[in-house]
Subunit: 319 residues, 4 copies
């Protein structure tokens, strides 16, 4: 892909916030976007701060992690998107999660008594650590990059960090071991979030994200929500229940489904959800990272929807 | 209700076909229509002939029985409406089914050795006949009126007829007993059928009739059809499976549901059926004979449909 | 198939009632049963009389028509099985419906001015008659055999009958034309009915018949009934709504489904129906006339049911 | 409630592991159990270690947090219960989540430049901190108690901790502010976990927990799972999708539902899940913390299940 053309003279470059610090997998995800090449990239301490930078207009977009193939969804991202000033997902991308054991130059593997990392990374390297560093204590840091940054400090009591390969360069650390994740296929999915506007154009390989708030807690409420989708042939690819914070047992559902808001079946399903739910928050339609086209069941294509609408119009007009 | 005004000079009166002969419950149903007062009423030998008179333009409308509270639906009417040149139901009416035992003047109850009637009427007076005419043979005639007409012939070998009260006048027969039906609440439902056109206007107490032809015989096909209705909050008031004639086990479904084709939820359900069925034949929307308003579940009113459609339009436009 | 052995000395032969008169398709269906070879066959004037002969013990079984591939179900049979003293279906068989035009010897086709037959037969030969006997009047008789019997009377005003081929022999009539049905694949399905008892043994190619009475008229009641079946992977092969006679809109459902009452999935579905319906009448499990084995969806075989039951027992016992 | 009697002489006291360190809300939850009064309580550094202590037999039970009314489920607990050597939940209890701001004696509120706490606690006190400590940096610790322990160290660079009130006593810290949680109704739900065995006896106010692994990723799989429950009138009170770790989009469902494994409807639903899922892990039936009795829909009581089972047995036996 050729680099994007430079912005016209006088137009300031775009600013993208991301979950920092520098050297995280999130930065790696952001850098995979062509638009990032000429943009200003702003690391933020938390997902909330990155998204608030978009809400306030300080940033044009933000990249944050939303789901990990091993650890599951990232609750703070789901909750931030579900509440507060609305935002819209315009793009998703995945980054393979490869962990390295990093230390200050000169530190030998046998010197590592304390290793720091984020709890998710600790969970994903548990087996490797148990086999290779059986006597090492694992302590938690707010992010893998924070662990690397701390380890880079010569006065640190931490001997090594488990972090993204990118962190080695950023913090000038030595790589004691690479590819130490227990699951070599682990990936994290990230989303590019911007202020609400026109959804990304329909590519034919799209996904739609939304949050459905149940009208009340009647037993069949979730079933009713699912039926609004399945009945129109709209497949879900992810569903997460999230507490609304009001009380134990009070949930909303964070849902990804196949197709684009401009697809007739997705549109009818969204309208159905809007009618049976207390609230529906549309989070955007965007091209899938894996380019998989949606399954279109017989009777659910746009052509069939349009044919049926034309037929109904004829019936109503008596033609 | 005052009589309808006379048609303008030079306009021929309307012609209504009905299932004859004269003196049937069907004539009684037709006469309950204000429009029948000045129209020409044409008895037809069969439901098929009455409906064909409408199809060919010989008649402006036809009244035929469609359902009896004791005997069930009238298959020939369902089948005639489901196949052939399309027709539309514009009105329904019910007639209480009261049977009388009729004979030529001078015949005494104890003289009745053979009584003729239509098989449906025989079924609905079985208990009375068993108690009151235990030694009488019951023979079948093509209609109750045909039985009465035959009995009126002095050379008939039939002594009496079980028929509608109206038949006594038509055929100058004496009423040996009245109200002899086993179920005093029995009613028959009739429909006024015309050529397809603008549906009857929405009254708020409407019913919609249709025939759904299953796309194939997969096990869940009927469930899928029902879900198209229930999912949109459209209640069925009648469903009949009818063989399509192709093979045993090959059915279509004759359905009445609450609401009018102009109701948003009914429209969306019809479009859904159109997409999942091999074919859907719309048979009309018309005011219910009993004036019962449809149940409107939360989330299925026109207001909610319109709100959801406006919301979707905003999402798609990025507003 | 060899003929069945003679009954032991002193045991009276079985008696089978059937919808007569002699020469009907029903007799043909009954004669297809090996057991009929040595039995006494008793024609009855109506389905009701044939079934009442079983109820009273006068007959050991009765053969009656239940469904026609062109005309649909036989309402009187469905209603008789749904109400009154319970009966059980133990066998089904089909007879191809071939119609012949029969007349007294010497009558020529061009002499036929009036032809008599049962209304169902008239419907199934309508096209042939319109093409070949355009000026002939068709009158209705209580059965095709009754039409043939009447035509055999030299004083009859009817010139010919449309009836089963078997009727030609019975009534010594000449065959003016054979195979005059409009649909050459038309078949009628008959059932052998006996007093309730042990269901026919499981053959692996079985069907189960039942009648479900809705608990009340709430909109989703039919959907709820269907779900009890589909949820357990039990396919329906026939469903008929029948009025209960109480009021318009008050229905029961006459259902055939794949499988045997001894199949675990059918048993669980029956129990589910029993719990959600006002009443369920089991009408028997019996081998299908076409020998088609049921579709068994993953998770619905007896092996899987038994495994799940054993698992649950272990959970409950804490093993 | 009187204290439990002392164990018989010679019987060692029970050992309960819990998510430590001392002073956490988890210890508070454990101490709410009467059985804890005479037991040995063993703090563990992680949920995994606490549960492994039960698996290995080192502990008789373990108390771990499973769900927070604000932050949602505790993923590590759900995942540990869903995989590895099976365990069983025998009890649940909730603890109101009240946060205090703790510091070494002598530290004044205006001295607090850096405050440490667990990320969940940081999220739940965000508003209070923004208003009352606007210039304070919030850093993350592995647990609220770890934050308190660290703050207690006079050499710590952290000035204060946000932690449970219990931590003040344990670590001899001063309470600078109490009740600083943003949501005064926040509670955390904890479970007591033991090795698999006989479920807790049925109390009539029970909950059942399970994990359902989808057989494959077909679109309707989740709907199929929900139907197994709703169809039998079993209400869900919690459902969480959790990645199985195999690939993005590959989920299992962690479910709580009303009722006890000994309830007929729950048993039939569990068997249904067992048949349609790749695997079902039963996690126990136990009394609800809130003592709410399950909703029992018509047709789903044990009496109705037993009646239906007896009826089916009679049908099969031909009685």
């Amino acid at each position: 892909m050729p680099p994007p053309p430079p912005p016209p003279p006088g137009v300031p470059p775009a600013r993208y916030a991301y979950l920092g610090p520098e050297g995280t997998f999130t930065e790696q995800a952001l850098r995979s976007l062509p638009a990032a090449a000429r943009a200003e990239l702003v690391p933020c301490a938390t997902v909330t701060l990155a998204l608030d930078a978009v809400r306030s207009g300080e940033a044009d977009g933000a990249v944050v992690p939303i789901e990990n193939s091993v650890e599951g969804s990232v609750p703070v991202t789901l909750d931030e998107l579900a509440t507060g000033e609305p935002l819209m997902i315009t793009r998703e991308m995945t980054v393979p999660i490869a962990f390295s054991l990093l230390a200050r130059p000169g530190v030998r593997p046998e010197d590592v008594k304390v290793v720091a990392t984020h709890p998710h990374a600790a969970a994903q390297t548990r087996r490797w650590v148990a086999l290779n560093l059986p006597y090492t204590e694992v302590v938690h840091a707010p992010s893998t990059a924070a662990a690397a940054a701390a380890v880079a400090d010569p006065e640190s009591t931490w001997d090594a960090a488990i972090a993204a390969p990118l962190a080695a360069e950023h913090y000038r650390l030595a790589v004691l071991a690479a590819g130490i994740g227990d699951n070599p296929d682990a990936v994290t999915r990230f989303v590019l979030v911007s202020r609400p506007g026109l959804p990304a154009p329909r590519s034919g390989r799209d996904k739609t994200s939304l949050v459905a708030f149940m009208r009340d807690d009647h037993p069949g409420a979730l079933l009713e929500i699912l039926e609004q989708l399945t009945m129109r042939g709209v497949n879900m690819t992810r569903i997460e229940s999230r507490p609304t914070g009001a009380a134990l047992g009070n949930y909303c559902f964070s849902i990804d489904c196949e197709g684009h808001v401009d697809d007739a079946r997705v549109g009818e399903a969204l309208m159905g959800l809007r009618r049976v739910c207390a609230d529906v928050r549309f989070l955007g339609s965007y091209e899938r990272h894996d380019g998989v086209a949606p399954t279109v069941r017989p009777g659910t294509s746009d052509v069939e929807f349009n044919d049926a609408a034309a037929w109904l119009a004829r019936l109503r007009a008596g033609d």
